[in-house]
Symmetry: C2
Subunit: 377 residues, 2 copies
């Protein structure tokens, strides 16, 4: 293998490939990046037990002297290309043992791994794609995935559930104490599906697609899903098992609806949470929201060790309904309010111990639900 390539083009591809390297692995070969020249194009591949990423640099961007394959230590290779400030890089494999990376002024000799030990990756067959805008996919992930479970107690809850009924995709995430859900409408009609994608994979995908403006082709198989865009294939395994049916826990009638200025509410939550005691199991901060007789809202916390905090916030529209006092995690409410994109947000209550809803009038397809905690305050 011997080729010369523009440093910026290689780095741009490696910045995507890096997301597929495992953070820790008992399999040393997965710490490598595989380079293959096939029919004059350069294929770059990384993978871990969840995802595999491949990019292709086509022949017009690469000057090939000799074909070949190599498995190069991933992190060091990327760091070298990052720190090189020469315009062109020559990559040359000597006796299948040493990869020489040569630039204007410097020469790096990297000991490589045996490329035949690298696991073979089966990418999903590129047929019948579902088409989705990268910005739409980004919002589906960003507005739900934070609500996935952080522990493996119920593994299926560590992923986001995507279902398609033909013309609409619904994304749901829940850790069983809160739930976030977003629906989007597709331009065309597709086959139905019901899959659960690991949150970790979605986070890596998000890092790659969130600043793009591309149509993304999505391909499905039994246990994998593949996202294809630009010169990139991003594949992830799916989680096994049935995702719980959450539709029945979402309340429909709300005797109390309070409308807040979004930024006011976020700032108040931030201040009051300073003193709120941490819940032992989940390490979240419990605060109390009280709708008072005079229709102002008090957000407060009591901490036996440090002290108390109380703040009054005036809803931005008149509130109908009875007084109410609800205790819950301030982190859950902050997470939900933060991903809403409008100036005003609604909190809709059915009762003091019943799940409540956070949404906005401007985003009809988004909904967040939080389960209150029992509180003695």
């Amino acid at each position: 293998m011997n080729f010369t390539i523009d440093r910026n083009i290689l780095l741009e591809n490696l910045n995507i490939i890096t997301r597929g390297l495992p953070s820790k692995t008992p399999m040393p070969h997965l710490t490598g990046i595989k380079l293959d020249i096939i029919d004059g194009d350069l294929y770059i591949l990384s993978s871990n037990t969840d995802i595999a990423i491949q990019t292709i640099i086509t022949k017009e961007n690469i000057d090939i002297k000799e074909n070949g394959s190599v498995l190069v230590p991933g992190i060091v290779f990327i760091e070298i290309v990052k720190k090189i400030n020469s315009e062109k890089i020559n990559v040359n494999l000597i006796e299948d043992k040493i990869l020489i990376i040569k630039t204007d002024r410097s020469e790096f000799k990297l000991r490589v791994m045996d490329v035949f030990d690298y696991p073979s990756i089966d990418f999903v067959c590129l047929e019948n794609p579902l088409l989705i805008q990268s910005s739409t996919l980004t919002s589906l992930i960003k507005e739900t995935s934070f609500a996935t479970a952080q522990t493996e107690r119920r593994p299926i809850l560590t992923g986001v559930n995507f279902t398609c009924n033909g013309s609409e995709i619904k994304a749901i995430a829940t850790d069983s104490y809160r739930l976030s859900q977003k629906k989007i409408t597709l331009d065309e009609t597709y086959s139905e599906f019901n899959i659960v994608i690991p949150n970790k994979s979605l986070n890596e995908l998000l890092r790659i697609v969130e600043n793009l403006n591309e149509v993304i082709n999505v391909y499905f198989s039994n246990n994998k899903v593949l996202f294809k865009f630009k010169n990139i294939l991003f594949q992830t395994r799916l989680l096994d098992g049935n995702y719980p049916d959450t539709s029945r826990i979402i309340p429909q009638d709300f005797p109390v609806i309070i409308k807040f200025n979004r930024n006011d509410l976020l700032e108040t939550l931030d201040r009051v949470s300073l003193l709120s005691p941490k819940d032992k199991e989940n390490n979240y901060n419990i605060i109390v929201l009280t709708l008072k007789k005079d229709k102002t809202v008090e957000i407060s916390t009591t901490n036996l060790e440090i002290g108390d905090a109380i703040e009054t916030i005036t809803p931005c529209e008149d509130v109908e309904g009875p007084m109410i006092k609800v205790a819950f995690s301030s982190k859950y409410l902050t997470d939900a309010v933060r991903v809403l994109n409008s100036d005003k947000v609604n909190i809709k209550f059915t009762g003091e111990t019943k799940p409540f809803i956070i949404d906005s009038d401007e985003e009809a397809n988004v909904l967040h639900l939080i389960l209150p905690v029992r509180s003695s305050y």
Copy 2:
């Protein structure tokens, strides 16, 4: 105690006071900040076993309803003031137990500690100050303190040695493998001194003074030194013991002097260090500098596990003297080159195993020394 104060003025002072809070302490009272109203002024105090910081907010900036003293939980108090967005803050101590912090919309009730348990701090007598510009003090610290020892094996080396011969101050730091030294000339003549200030204290002082433009008053006692500027007193203990005499290890004759472009050299060090093996004891990277027959310089590293790196760098002036090959820590050289403020830097060698000097023609009062390592490469 009951007073009202501008939030920004209080925060500005707390941002200085925070540098005196201990990071860890077995003495719970030191985690507190002491507030005292004395003769209509507000005194704010923090301290740990190394340093004590006091700021004074004078009567024209504070509206006092009631005198008093309080010891308030430090970190929480600072966080609250940071997050408050109201212009004024009222601070009110109730029954010596609860401190109420009240703003337009919020009210925090903090349980306070017993103010009489706080250790009494003796500040050095404010007589016969030495005057130094904050920018001069900043450069003395920044250009030497990184070379102090990071371990407690020889505690005296964890500080910077400041000596004054009347009209000149010399700052020296060494970890016994490298040394950095800077001299400055004073505007007036002062008494001689020879003190060692803990590096930790200097780092905190640096954070406070580095962006100021003030004359700093320095006061000395047997075992402490006090820096006074603006409304601030910053006091630190001194290290006990005699600082080693380092003057004899600084070589005077240099058969080989190589001049480098500073940024070129830094970038080369950065790239080559990527592959350099870590020294086990000090965790630093060993590189080799070779002056070749053709008067170019090679900087290289050999790593049995990962691979080799080699880079050629052309000195910016013709080099006199014999060929030479020296192995040393790339971190030490990088640290030294980084704090030099000129475009060109000199590396001056006396021999392959002798200490070598890094300096610049434009900064006659600054000198860095590095001890080579024995290398088999």
